[in-house]
């Protein structure tokens, strides 16, 4: 079987041009490494997937709370004691999230969500 029909124009071959091939290769390798070669549907991976989903949602809410707290602090509608109290509560929440992530072997990037046009969660 011929690859090309007779008298056809040569296929268009895209060219890639950069003076920083190593940097882009590294970036692409990192992106490729983040993708699983295949999806395993076993009890452990299902549990891990569920934990990831739940922690992602908690992380989303936690970050929203932090932003809201910073806004309120900047707005001046909190007393110094309230700022301290709120900060401590959010600090503990961050620590707890760190423990949970470690328990399930998850990194910050694992809890990222691509929100489409809005961008990424983290």
């Amino acid at each position: 079987m011929k690859k090309f029909p007779p008298d056809s124009p040569e296929p268009v071959e895209p060219e890639v041009e950069t003076e920083h091939a190593a940097v882009f290769a590294e970036e692409l390798r990192r992106a490729a490494d983040a993708l699983p070669e295949r999806i395993n549907v076993d009890a452990q991976s299902v549990e891990q997937g569920l934990a990831k989903l739940v922690l992602t949602l908690i992380e989303l809410v936690r970050r929203l709370l932090e932003k809201q707290a910073v806004r309120r602090m900047e707005g001046g509608d909190l007393s110094p004691e309230q700022v301290e109290e709120l900060g401590l509560a959010l600090m503990k929440l961050e620590e707890k999230m760190g423990e949970l992530k470690a328990q399930f072997g998850l990194e910050d990037e694992d809890l990222n969500l691509d929100l489409g046009p809005v961008g990424k969660l983290i």
Partner: protein, 243 residues
């Protein structure tokens, strides 16, 4: 069961474009016609097409073969369908596919990716050593310090986002009058900060490269990668629906 591996769809595909040529797994290319549309396909036995280097290149080569004559809408790698599903797809989406084909006619897709050093970009980007007290009577305990650190991080992220968006705008300005349409993804948190695809009229690919090369020479802090011409992977009918 034999299914069809689909490469691309067009409204002006000629039989001689694929006659006598082969595709993935060495199968002969065929034109699957329904109404005004035709899909370049080849028979495939199996549940899925392995994502091997050879198969990916074969997919690209077949689309390049069609692109040498006209501009089709490419299917993503690994698209397997049976004839009935393909027929339904073409019938159901005929208007959207024809509209998308009209938009890309006479064009190719060119791509530009930009990498920056996010750490360098964030230097001086809204961070300061001393935030001052949260309020005059701030006790500056651990909780207050935590929130002040969060405020610095948020300001830094906002500044970075602003710079990334400026960069995307700069890219758009440089391609004014050349890019018929653009699909731009900005990711300030990553080092690959801009991924852009542009629809460019055939014959103007060199001009596209030259304009962005000039940008690369002016901005040494940016690392550019240009690519193309590609079939318009980023300008399919779904994009028109979103717009």
């Amino acid at each position: 069961m034999t299914r069809l591996y689909a490469y691309c769809v067009g409204d002006d595909l000629a039989a001689e474009t694929v006659e006598g040529a082969s595709g993935v797994a060495g199968s002969p290319l065929v034109l699957f016609r329904r109404g005004p549309l035709a899909v370049v396909a080849s028979p495939f036995d199996g549940k899925a097409v392995p994502a091997t280097r050879e198969n990916v290149l074969e997919h690209s080569r077949v689309n390049g073969l069609v692109l040498a004559r006209t501009t089709p809408l490419p299917f993503r790698f690994g698209t397997l369908v049976d004839e009935r599903r393909l027929q339904e797809h073409l019938e159901r989406n005929e208007a959207a596919l024809l509209a998308a084909l009209g938009r890309v006619r006479g064009c190719v897709e060119m791509g530009a990716k930009v990498i920056w050093d996010a750490a360098a970009q964030s230097e001086g980007g809204g961070e300061s050593e001393d935030e001052g007290p949260a309020s005059p009577a701030s006790p500056r305990g651990a909780g207050t310090a935590f929130l002040l650190a969060k405020r610095r991080a948020l300001e830094g992220a906002e500044a970075l986002k602003g710079r990334a968006e400026e960069l995307a705008a700069l890219l758009a300005a440089r391609l004014e009058g050349l890019a018929r349409e653009s699909s731009v993804e900005v990711n300030p948190a990553g080092s690959l900060v801009v991924r852009a695809a542009h629809l460019v009229a055939r014959g103007r690919e060199a001009e596209y490269r030259e304009r962005l090369r000039a940008l690369g020479r002016e901005r040494e802090d940016l690392r550019l990668m240009l690519s193309g011409p590609w079939p318009p992977y980023s300008f399919g009918p779904q994009r028109a629906e979103r717009a």
